[in-house]
Amino acid sequence: MPQVTLSVNGKSHTVEIEGRTLLVELLREKLRLTGTHVGCDTSQCGACVVHIDGESVKACTTLAAMCEGASVTTIEGLARPDGTLHPMQEAFREYHALQCGFCTPGMVMSAVDLVQKHPEGLSEAEIREGLEGNLCRCTGYHNIVKAIAAAQDVMHGRRETIAAAAQ
């Protein structure tokens, strides 16, 4: 059986896979990192978004074999090791940007990448457009958009904390 060696959340793993094994299957079934979800199988919903070498990618349509040598970050690896939440996670909590929580990991991982790619800052319309690859059935997106707007201020150093951004 072929193997793939990759780093996930800073830890190196060598895993036996089938040629058809998807990255999300490797994460969920081999490494038991079940924070990354599968919502649609057709790359529409974005519940499976992780970062590969810093870029957001849909893990349900990425073959595990393509990730040889890659550095993967999942939702479990986003907070600091001491448990301090990433500003995006904190903003989602502050703004009630999640309800059932199923789309949340992918939504947060997409939002982090979206904000990182736009140091100049995103307008509300640009955030909405930037979430094109992520579906949420619970929130109506209203609070997700607000959370991302607040988090970008903290991530780009324009505000100290999410609480300050919320003021």
């Binding site: 924070g35 199988d41 057709t42 909590r93 309800q99 059932c100 929580g101 509300e124 955030i127 997106y141």
Partner: protein, 795 residues
């Protein structure tokens, strides 16, 4: 010393306790559960809408790598059909047609997605590979999917024993009085519409894991359910004949439901049965296309409504005829949706004196239809609120003033409608006025002119709605055909040192119960939210429960908790009286006392904290043993006295591009009366989410079958789910009148958004298109449809 308490009780926007695990990837959804030795199930489903199964050859498939077993209905002997939980009676008093709903197809398949066989293998991929090697000999038969078409004489029969595909022919109201109202009417308005079929599409696909302990004979089912006790009852008693004591059903974190996870589904029975048969755990998880063709769908009504008005615009009578699509089989609560959750709502917020409604439910070769967020009430609201707009336009009345003229007066409560319900409270004028002001209704014409100057068509639409939730008084629903009671159960367990565990039969799958329910306890017992934990979703832990749907969790489940807390306080007072050597009548309890929840001898400074009382209850050295048992835990069953009646006003503003027909939602205003608000942040989120689904129905979503019965919209590439840039900011406000018959004064907020919003959006679209003379646009108001209206009239 408890300065923080007032901010965590009823009315505080406490941040959610459940968020940390969801945000850090540590939620535990069913598909995250893996049992030792687990095998995987894959289900072979029908590709045909209607076919006779001649043979199922599993010989080759059985020899595929990793295959453990393949089962068809021939193997599942002694298994009951999937039961229906509600029986409707026809006009003539006879019961509805209730054909068998087999777990796996028996001889025939009746919709695309109907399960035929289950393959169990070591891995999911191996199960799927083997499933594709099953040789199926089927004879396709003619199919019918359309609601009206299925009632036509020549339509193919879905069930041989159901003539004309008619499930029931039901009615409500006073036909003679309604006919008389029309006879004297100055205006007679007719409106016909189809309420589009929707697919709920909770983001988490359904999943089920069956486990069996061969030494004890205990079955465990982990399932994506909104009501694990109901599943235990339906599956245990009717399908698999397993006594409750040997069947544990666990619904852990569940990724959204919106109704679709209320029902007992075949896959739950399959994995439970197979796990016992094989002596090893069996897991099944749907992929999204399976969800499209096996989760119960929503809506799908064809209706004709007529309104009689006098010359001044006062409503005299309403007559409705509706055909409702049940799909191929009766899902758990399907029959009650187009009847007692629909026709009883046709009075809306208006004092229409005479109403008569007839409903025919029909079988078709489609996925079963059942309650989806709002369930019957969105269909009633849409019909009525569009009809009122059509009437205003046809008869020359102002659409706001016509509504206002016919409102049930705030002084008229309790108000008995002509269609069975008795509304307890409401204030429709205030919610209307507040919404008109928030949406700047008065300034609209200037905004329309501004849009016109940019070549755009702008429209504004209003909906003044009411719904009935907090489901429901058991005796009432029992008399209407429910085969269950609809009370709720709550246990308050005060631990020795004063922290609290709440066991509730309600189930949270996004609603934030772990926070809201903790706030109820904080408010009533004076214990900080952080020291209150909510346990739900496990029949092995929670005494009993009917689950979460119909916006009932707070109104019914919260009221059960409130009753149990009354018992805690009553017992606590007796313990406090003993400890402080006072008469029990002299003991007061104050949740915001100097010791938090504090028992005091009235008029003195002698006090005991709740934690001191609970310690005395569990370490009963000094305890009134003659009159009380040790411990401090109470359970209450709460059976509601009536439905609750949230209502309000929704206003949508849209802009349409002439070149493309694209409708842009510009803003949306919701002013809702949901009764007392426990957590405003969560209520706002619930309304926003509901509005998003309503806007989805109005502008985007549509479940489509082709003429052969093939499901065309079976993936998220083909079914338009609302995305962030399809929606606009939603302004949410509440205007409270208290529910008069439950102890919390709460009404429910989960469904109002999906109920009130679709007619507001379509009324706005029609308003934007007024120059083209259109009277109506069917949902969803997609760009091609609008483009044809704009360009069809000029070309």
């Amino acid at each position: 010393m408890n300065a923080v308490l007032p901010f965590e009780g009823i009315g505080a926007s406490v941040k959610r306790k459940e968020d940390l695990r969801f945000l850090s990837g540590r939620g535990q959804y069913v598909d995250d559960i893996n049992r030792p030795g687990q095998a995987h199930a894959w289900i072979l489903r029908s590709q045909y809408a209607h076919a006779r199964i001649n043979s199922i050859d599993t010989t080759a498939a059985s020899k595929m790598p990793g295959v453990v077993a393949i089962y068809t209905s021939a193997d599942m002997t002694g298994i009951g059909g999937i039961p229906c939980g509600w029986q409707i009676h026809n006009k003539d008093g006879t019961p509805m047609a209730e054909p068998k709903h087999p777990v796996l197809a028996e001889g025939k398949v009746r919709h695309v997605g109907d399960p035929i066989a289950v393959v169990i293998a070591e891995t999911r991929s191996q199960a799927r590979d083997a499933g594709e090697a099953i040789v199926l000999d089927v004879e396709p038969l003619p199919a019918v999917t359309g609601t009206t078409a299925a009632l036509a004489g020549a339509a193919p029969c879905v069930h041989d024993d159901v003539a004309g595909n008619l499930c029931y022919d039901w009615h409500i109201g006073d036909k003679a009085a309604t006919d008389a109202a029309f006879a004297k009417a100055a205006h007679h308005v007719v409106f016909e519409t189809t309420n589009n079929r929707l697919v709920p599409n909770a983001m988490e696909p359904r999943s089920a894991v069956g486990d069996y302990d061969t030494t004890t004979g205990e079955h465990t089912l982990f399932t994506t359910s909104q009501n694990p006790h109901v599943i235990r009852l339906l599956m245990g008693a009717f399908v698999l004949q397993i006594p409750e004591s040997k069947l544990r059903v666990v619904a852990p974190d569940v990724g959204g439901g919106f109704g679709s996870k209320i029902y007992h589904y075949a896959e739950e029975a399959i994995v439970t049965w197979a796990a016992a048969k094989l002596g090893r755990p069996v897991k099944w998880t749907a992929d999204r296309t399976e969800a499209f063709m096996s989760d119960a769908h929503g809506r799908d009504h064809v209706s004709r409504a007529e309104l009689a008005l006098d010359k001044d615009g006062t409503f005299l009578g309403l007559r409705v005829h509706t055909q409702a699509n049940m799909g191929a089989y009766l899902s758990t609560f399907a029959p009650c949706v187009p009847t007692y959750l629909y026709a009883t709502l046709l009075a809306g917020v208006y004092s229409t004196p005479a109403i008569y409604a007839e409903v025919q439910a029909v079988f078709t070769h489609t996925v079963p239809v059942d309650a989806y967020r709002g369930a019957g009430r969105p269909e009633a609201t849409y019909l009525l609120e569009r009809l009122v707009d059509v009437a205003a336009r046809q008869c020359g009345f102002d659409k706001v003033e016509l509504r206002r003229r016919n409102f049930i007066a705030t002084s008229a409560f309790p108000y008995q409608t002509p269609v069975a319900l008795e509304y307890d409270s409401g204030d429709y004028v205030s919610t209307l006025n507040q919404a008109l002001e928030t949406a700047d209704w008065a300034g609209f014409e200037a905004r329309r002119a501004e849009s016109a100057s940019r070549g755009k068509l702008r429209g504004i639409g209003i909906s003044t709605y009411l719904e009935a939730c907090g489901i429901a008084p058991s005796a009432v629903v029992g008399s209407l055909g429910a085969r269950a009671g609809l009370y709720e159960v709550g246990t308050i367990r005060v631990h020795p040192t004063g922290s609290i565990t709440v066991l509730t039969g309600a189930h949270s799958h996004g609603q934030g119960h772990e926070t809201t329910f903790a706030q109820l306890v904080c408010d009533k017992l004076g214990v900080p939210v952080a020291q209150v934990d909510i346990v739900h979703g496990d029949t092995g832990k929670v005494p009993f429960g009917m689950g979460t749907y119909g916006s009932r969790s707070l109104a019914v489940g919260g009221s059960a908790m409130d009753k149990a807390m009354d018992k805690i306080i009553a017992k606590g007072k007796r313990i406090a009286a003993h400890l402080m050597e006072a008469s029990v009548e002299d003991i007061e309890f104050d949740p915001r006392g100097e010791k938090g929840g504090t028992f005091r001898v009235a008029g003195t400074d002698r006090t005991k904290a709740l934690a001191e009382i609970s310690l005395a209850a569990y370490v009963p050295h000094n305890f009134p043993h003659d009159e009380l048992e040790p411990g401090l835990e109470e359970t209450a069953f709460y059976d509601p006295k009536n439905f609750t009646y949230p209502g309000g006003c929704h206003i949508a503003e849209v802009e349409i591009e002439r070149e493309t027909g694209q409708v842009h939602l510009l803003n949306f205003t919701a002013v809702d009366d949901v009764g007392r608000v426990v957590n405003p942040m969560i209520v706002e989120g619930q309304v926003q989410g509901g509005v998003a689904q309503g806007v989805g129905q109005a502008l985007l979503e549509n479940c489509v079958y082709d003429s052969s019965g093939q499901l065309i919209s079976a993936s998220m590439m083909d079914y338009a789910m609302p995305r962030a840039d399809d929606l606009a900011p939603v302004s949410v406000a509440t205007h409270t009148t208290l529910c008069t018959h439950n102890p919390l004064g709460v009404k429910g907020c989960g469904e109002v958004g999906a109920i009130g919003s679709p007619p507001a959006v379509i009324n706005a679209v029609v308003d934007a298109l007024r120059e083209f003379g259109v009277n109506h646009v069917e949902m969803p108001a997609t760009a091609p449809k609008i483009w044809s209206i704009i360009h069809g009239s000029t070309h």
